[in-house]
């Protein structure tokens, strides 16, 4: 088990080096406030994308309403933070908890009926749910004026610093990884590969699909909750179904069934979108959407298994387990 310790130590070292480098870049002014926001946004996207990776990449549940849960987390946590109004750490943490739990509850309620549907039908139902949530957010101010409705919501205390975002990103990565490497995670992968065969060995797929759906959506809710405390302006259009495509693209482009792929692609995707803004300059700004659409098409055409296939690196690599014959076998997600 030497390699396990080695992975762990190098991961901790990597995180510390990353933190020191970012801090140094902030102090020296290399990383201006704009790029700090992009960096934080990319980490928030990692949390949300991990949720969809679990649901879709590992369990094969085709959900395209992920941004709706991200939005529910953002709005419920934002409302809590705004109501408490103190801007202190305890109220921030309470707001995150409310956002995550509320999203999990909604995911449970919608998952209960909807998860019975198969593949594309599940996809279109979750997409429909995404549209419904967007309409609800647009008109939320009729019930609760603080939500702001179509004009957007302001006034959430901005207490999520880089340290908080990083901390929660790491937590999300560790929890996802441990979940996937547990018995539960392996059941999820087997549901993705063959649901009927999974049923045949005496496992109830419905239970696991529900579990992973609620868990994945709760991660999206957490991401939204952090987002609400990092960016002073929440708008329903940030959470419509076009945003859901972002999460979907990240999971597929990173490689279905690769946490490493999800994390790297989420960061890369956010930086690509912002980076193009600078590389193209004012005159070619309009080309941004065209270029990223083309990159997307080219990516799937030349590398259909995604950037990482189903490979994992470092800390995220599945642990070696001893099989009955005493031979070492790696439980990989292939």
């Amino acid at each position: 088990m030497g390699s396990k310790n080695k992975h762990l130590i190098s991961s901790i070292a990597g995180v510390i080096i990353f933190y020191v480098l970012v801090k140094a870049a902030i102090v020296t002014g290399l990383l201006n406030p704009y790029w700090q926001r992009v960096l934080d946004q990319s980490m928030i996207y990692v949390i949300g994308a991990l949720g969809l990776s679990l649901i879709f990449g590992f369990t094969g549940q085709f959900s395209i309403g992920h941004a709706a849960f991200y939005g529910l987390g953002a709005y419920s946590a934002g409302l809590t933070g705004k109501m408490l109004g103190t801007g202190g750490i305890p109220s921030f943490l309470l707001a995150l908890l409310v956002g995550t739990l509320f999203t999990a509850l909604v995911a449970y309620l919608i998952g209960k009926p909807v998860l019975r549907l198969q593949s594309d039908y599940l996809g279109i139902a979750t997409l429909g749910f995404g549209v419904i949530v967007k309409v609800a957010l647009d008109n939320g101010n009729r019930l609760i004026p603080e939500l702001g409705g179509a004009t957007g919501m302001t006034g959430v205390p901005q207490v999520a610093t880089f340290e908080w975002v990083l901390l929660f990103t790491l937590l999300a990565i560790i929890i996802s990884r441990n979940f996937l490497h547990s018995t539960y995670g392996r059941v999820c992968t087997s549901i993705r590969e063959d649901e009927i065969a999974t049923k045949a060995v005496g496992i109830n797929p419905a239970k696991y699909k529900m579990l992973v759906f609620v868990f994945g959506c709760a991660l999206a809710g957490l991401a939204g909750a952090i987002y609400a405390h990092r960016y002073p302006f929440l708008h329903p259009s940030s959470f419509d179904f076009l945003q859901s495509f972002n999460f979907l693209i990240i999971v597929v482009a990173g490689g279905m069934g690769s946490l490493t792929g999800t994390v790297v692609t989420a960061v890369g995707w956010v930086f690509l979108q912002e980076g193009l803004r600078f590389m193209l300059g004012e005159a070619f700004m309009d080309w941004r959407g065209v270029i990223y659409a083309l990159l997307l098409i080219i990516l799937v055409l030349v590398r259909r298994q995604g950037l990482f296939g189903n490979k994992e690196i470092g800390f995220l690599t599945p642990q070696a387990v001893l099989t009955k014959g005493g031979k070492q076998n790696v439980t990989s997600q292939s």
């Binding site: 009926p113 909807v114 039908y121 279109i124 429909g128 997307l296 055409l301």
Partner: protein
């Protein structure tokens, strides 16, 4: 009562346009099991080409519709050739991402300044609107035009699918690609033809939409596309009568919501109905339940 009947007619008008788009979705899905997300954008391109046809190129509007249909048929075939055919044996989700890519490409490319530009354009209708009073209910010539055109197109489509050789090939390929190939059907050409046919109908839908609701812009295809796809799912995807039935229901639901509840809620109620129907009939209204095979 008259108001209600007028809403029914408005709903049929919208539903028929949705039906033209939904047929393309359902045929493509039936034959390659792909949600062609770019279909709504082909509809948009059709609307623009038709608009250019009767506004700038001085074509009579029936000819403008045909030009838009031909243009989009070629566009649909090109999209299939470049973005979907290389992924035919890839996992379905990969082809779906490619479809989303094509959809974004069409939207953003068309909103470039040298193309159509990002702003709304007001469409000068190619024919003046005439209203008739029949028993207190108002019907316009545009509604009649849509009704007649769509019904003709439907008859043509049913004739192609059920009475021609290429239609038989389409039905065979949708049943089983490999068996079709063994029987000597050119699978690639059949799929290409399906895309052409679906895109041409979407283009017709686009031009009619632009005439009926005279405002167009490059992102106009997203919502009608989504609703038409929803309609296809609602009726039972892969089925031609299902697409028409689903589209007519969607059109009615949307119009009634706007007229009697709130225009804010039009999208929410349409999708809520979809979810509810799927819960009771997971393969759509006309769909058969497939048994799981081990």
């Amino acid at each position: 009562m008259e108001f209600f009947l007028e809403q029914v007619i408005n709903g049929i008008q919208l539903g028929l346009v949705y039906a033209l788009i939904a047929l393309g979705y359902t045929m493509v899905y039936g034959i390659v099991k792909l949600i062609n997300f770019a279909h709504g954008d082909v509809f948009m391109v059709g609307a623009f080409v038709g608009y250019f046809g009767f506004t700038y190129w001085g074509l009579p509007w029936p000819l403008a519709i045909i030009v838009a249909m031909v243009f989009c048929a070629i566009l649909g075939m090109v999209i299939e050739r470049i973005a979907y055919r290389p992924l035919r044996y890839a996992p379905r989700m990969i082809a779906l991402i490619s479809a989303i890519g094509v959809s974004f490409f069409l939207e953003y490319f068309c909103s470039l300044k040298f193309m159509f530009g990002p702003n709304y354009r007001v469409v000068q209708r190619p024919l003046p609107e005439i209203s008739w009073q029949i028993g207190g209910v108002t019907i316009t010539n545009i509604q009649l035009l849509i009704l007649v055109t769509v019904i003709c197109m439907l008859i043509l489509l049913l004739w192609i699918v059920h009475r021609t050789k290429i239609g038989a090939a389409m039905r065979t390929v949708s049943f089983d690609h490999d068996a079709a190939r063994l029987m000597g059907v050119n699978v690639d050409r059949t799929i290409s033809f399906t895309f052409a046919l679906g895109s041409a109908m979407a283009a017709m839908g686009g031009v009619l939409y632009a005439i009926a609701y005279p405002q167009i812009q490059p992102f106009m295809g997203i919502m009608p596309g989504l609703k038409a796809f929803t309609a296809a799912v609602l009726g039972g995807i892969g089925l031609i009568p299902g697409a028409v039935l689903g589209a007519l229901i969607m059109g009615q639901v949307e119009t009634m919501t706007v007229a009697f509840i709130s225009s804010q809620l039009r999208d929410a109620i349409a999708f809520a109905i979809l979810i509810i129907v799927l819960l009771f009939k997971p393969t759509g209204i006309l769909g058969r339940t497939e048994t799981e095979k081990v």
